[in-house]
Symmetry: C2
Subunit: 338 residues, 2 copies
Amino acid sequence: MVNDVTEYDVVGIGNAIVDVLAKVGEGFLSERGLHKGDMTLVEAQKAGEIYTDIIPEREVSGGSAANTVAAIASLGGTPAFVGKVHDDELGQEFQRDIGAAGVDFYTAPLMQGPSTARSIVLVTPDAQRSMFTYLGASIHLTADDIDEKIISAAKIVYLEAYLLDDEKSAEAMFKAAQLARKYNRQVALTLSDTSCIERHRQQIKDFIHSYTDILFANDDEIKSLFEEDDFYKTLDLIKPEVEIAALTRGEKGSVVVNNRIKIFVEAETIENVVDSTGAGDVYAAGFLYGLTHGRTLGTCALIGNIAASEILSHYGARAEVSLRGYVRNKLRNYGKTL
Amino acid sequence: MVNDVTEYDVVGIGNAIVDVLAKVGEGFLSERGLHKGDMTLVEAQKAGEIYTDIIPEREVSGGSAANTVAAIASLGGTPAFVGKVHDDELGQEFQRDIGAAGVDFYTAPLMQGPSTARSIVLVTPDAQRSMFTYLGASIHLTADDIDEKIISAAKIVYLEAYLLDDEKSAEAMFKAAQLARKYNRQVALTLSDTSCIERHRQQIKDFIHSYTDILFANDDEIKSLFEEDDFYKTLDLIKPEVEIAALTRGEKGSVVVNNRIKIFVEAETIENVVDSTGAGDVYAAGFLYGLTHGRTLGTCALIGNIAASEILSHYGARAEVSLRGYVRNKLRNYGKTL
């Protein structure tokens, strides 16, 4: 299936989730005893109940690493994705959608068992989002799904910490990292979210120490990782552990730690932050695009900040314009080219 | 004289000063009513009196920009120097010495008038240094000494703010900057010292705004320039004025400001700081060597910090080993090459 001569900039490995967006009335949540705001993990039955009662407005392939590789494609890079869907309608939707985004995706779907993971995003009239995520097939990724040829064909293997939530997908993660080592490829890890860190702190620390070249995290995540309240202190704690740490700080921009060098890059100013979902994923995309195209670390972070600003200006984790054109125009203001 | 096909990395323009080092007894200074420690500007007569009474141990070409270009040569770069000596013994010494360091130097010497500038460095048994500087011929640099061919042959024209201390040498400085503009060369400026800034604050600000692409300063100098006590605030003040500001902070390392990007680079740790004279000059050399050899701004600062650490570990502003080998070895520790 995989062409031997293909060279990917990045292979992303993570949960394959379909984002289902729907508008609902103010009473919809309270009537069903659903928590408003935030993200809630739900079981199949509950997800099914919610799904039955809504009129989906849009269904797009989602998931953290999947968002990142889709954005890399939009920037003009060459990404692939490894993740597990079920061979159901949503799974086929995921496959079509991520393919249309320009991402190679070959992972064999589940033919039985849990259905494709979905994150049902309900938008109430007050413009608030409440997310209900059913992980379904996505956590059934196994070591068998990690194809040595794809790993060896990628400059960077990008993994999400969410993979540690299941023993089998964790095995897949370790296999990918070990293969990356074997072929002298770089391993990038994103810390996913603080609750994921709380569940797996020591395992994440070990994975960072043993396998990770490039770490992505936001300020809350890196502070949680080291159980350290002072963000600046975390910079020196992560320094000996990875070659590059790229840390986002919302409106404060991002910081890159590379040995004795710390690079602070201002956030791209936008008029109105509408929704921060996926901003971290798209920052990572911009950064990795820069890194796989020979840009300096400062410019990598600048590309990340600018790409993230596109995502912040509207609902949803996928860009609404070609990120390549968007980033190129903004970079010109700073005398840099994409 | 100047070969048309020569391409210089950097042409430095500044005061041509011979550093005369001598050891004296404890009573030498007090007997002559000389101020111990620091740098004192002296007239010809006083300089002559001191010079007559000492046994010079070493005489080396010095001056801020001259130190920088000599260090660039030691790093393996191709520098030239423009500065004024008298055709006397010290002037010939300067010419031989800077040539031996690997720096092209063609400026015609004064045939009459003040003698070659010297900085007499007296080291007392307590290892303290007291400097007495006579500027002599050095401030007789004029616009006629700025050769269009040399400026057009350099990637970067490096100027020291000390040139503003004399009207004629200031004219030379402006001519060099205008020629650099004409040939699309970059202009770098070093702020020299805080007393120089106090003498010429507005003129320096105007020169930075109108001509300077790359600014070098230490923390005291940049604070003095903006009359701002908070170093971090000066970073945002200098940002709109230059493409690159490279600011040294002693043991705190250095900071590079490039538009929205701020890069903090740790100092190279050395066991024993012996003498900081010339450390800023050699930092600038390392930075400019990196910049003219396509290194990232973070690596430029790292090279600067490492090169400066060599100078800090002994007396005198000139490296005692090949900076190329010294920096290359240290850079290896950080996974980088020179």
